[in-house]
């Protein structure tokens, strides 16, 4: 069953553990071509939102809809349309770059021969393809992890703090990639606490604090000032 969608919605999503509130009545939507920035302080619930969007976690109340359909109805085939990159990177350090990519390519039902080399080129790691990932620098791992996350050309691209530990050039590469993805019709959701990087990259801004959605608006100039006004002040 081919699953595809052009929008994703969170409808009154809450997630709590006993008394501890991780998310509170979040209603949010994003569509093809958006780069939605989830911004907020640490512990605000951005990562929880990303995990829920990735189907790795279920909300306590509320629903997540992909193209209007809830996740349960779409089944495992939904996951081929989702790509996730969290700051843990999801790479096997003992395996080589090529082996990591080949494994995930096959897991997603792709032919490794056609996809792995292209991904290695794109990551600039073609000459280190057969070296174990444990020997890579943070920047190299990040580039590899980025390619791994995007191997299957997902519709919903979820990035959780992708800029951590990257140098200026790498940040530029990742940003360009995100713009290209959105231009190609992907729904990009980017969670970060780095306002300067988000500024100029995101097309929509969702500010989150203490599990609550404080504001949801198109991006404009003066992101930092807006952030301070809504979150920093209190």
């Amino acid at each position: 069953m081919r699953v595809d969608f052009t929008s994703v919605q969170l409808v009154d999503v809450s997630r709590h553990f006993g008394r501890r509130r991780a998310l509170s009545h979040v209603t949010l939507a994003a569509a093809s071509g958006d780069i939605l920035g989830l911004l907020g302080p640490n512990g605000a619930g951005k990562s929880t939102l990303i995990t829920i969007l990735a189907t790795l976690s279920t909300p306590t109340t509320g629903e997540v809809r992909y193209g209007g359909q809830p996740a349960a109805r779409l089944g495992p085939a939904l996951r081929i349309r989702i790509g996730l990159l969290a700051h843990e990177l999801h790479l096997y350090p003992e395996l080589s770059a090529r082996q990591n990519l080949a494994f995930f390519a096959q897991l997603y039902g792709l032919d490794p021969r056609s996809t792995v080399d292209a991904a290695l080129e794109s990551a600039g790691l073609a000459d280190r393809a057969d070296d174990a990932v444990s020997g890579f620098s943070r920047g190299m791992r990040q580039r590899l992890a980025l390619e791994r996350a995007l191997l299957h050309h997902p519709r919903l691209v979820l990035f959780d703090e992708p800029f951590t530990g990257l140098d200026d050039r790498a940040v530029g590469i990742v940003s360009d990639r995100l713009r290209a993805l959105a231009a190609g019709g992907a729904i990009v959701v980017l969670a970060t606490h780095d306002l300067d990087l988000a500024d100029g990259l995101v097309t929509r801004v969702a500010l989150v604090r203490s599990g609550r959605l404080v504001s949801d608006e198109p991006a404009s100039t003066g992101l930092r000032a807006r952030y301070r006004a809504l979150i920093g002040a209190a």
Binding site: T51, L56, P76, R79, L84, E88, L89, F104
Partner: protein
């Protein structure tokens, strides 16, 4: 999709293990030390008590199996690759099956070492009925690994996971230990108690069917947060 995913996970774990052989060699050496500790505990005047060989074999399997379970899942915790696996479009129980098969392969190698070692140290006639012995080992190992793999997977994100695994695993797999030990002992008795061994193989097989099924059912709900 299901079988292919299980196979891919198995092959990936094999590829990782082959690079360093860390889990394999340390598990084997631990199994050997287990056997030696129990030998020194029980052997008196050069003679082990009756059926000690059967007991020691299964204790070594259980203890080294528990350690190996913890270590193989530790690999998926580092870099949170377990999340990446759960995101794959395959049905999630396929991941469980892949991990289970890997565990079975590891324990099979351990048993290939342990059986001759114990036969050697305790003059135990373990090879008199090799097919029946293989059936008992298979039945018990599958049961132990089925429950162990599920619990190790579900504990990956828990606190105190190292000690919680044996606390949960051992009481639940007591039927496997009893069946394995009594079945092996039946084969060591003189004369060999074949009907007894076959009866225990049946019980182990029933246990395996129930618990593999239960694990396949509960894997997905346990892995989603």
């Amino acid at each position: 999709m299901f079988v292919r995913t299980a196979w891919l996970v198995l092959r990936k774990d094999f590829a990782i293990e082959v690079k360093s052989l860390e889990v394999l060699t340390t598990t084997l050496f631990f199994a050997i030390s287990c056997v030696l500790i129990f030998a020194f505990a029980f052997v008196k005047n050069g003679q082990a008590p009756e059926d000690a060989a059967a007991g020691i074999l299964w204790i070594a399997i259980a203890f080294s199996g528990t350690l190996a379970l913890g270590r193989t899942f530790e690999r998926e915790r580092y870099s949170e690759t377990l999340r990446a696996l759960l995101l794959a479009p395959a049905p999630r129980p396929a991941l469980y099956v892949g991990k289970l098969l890997g565990m079975l392969a590891l324990l099979a190698v351990a048993e290939l070492l342990l059986v001759p070692l114990i036969a050697f140290l305790f003059q135990a006639a373990l090879f008199s009925r090799p097919l029946l012995l293989a059936a008992i080992l298979a039945g018990g190992t599958v049961g132990f690994s089925a429950v162990g793999t599920l619990f190790a997977a579900m504990l990956v994100r828990a606190r105190s996971r190292d000690v919680l695994l044996p606390i949960l695993l051992y009481p639940i797999t007591i039927p496997v230990i009893i069946g394995g030990v009594r079945g092996t002992a039946a084969l060591l008795a003189s004369p060999v108690d074949e009907p007894g061994a076959i009866m225990w193989i049946g019980i182990l097989a029933a246990f395996d069917v129930v618990f593999v099924t239960l694990s396949l059912w509960t894997f997905e709900p346990l892995m989603t947060e």
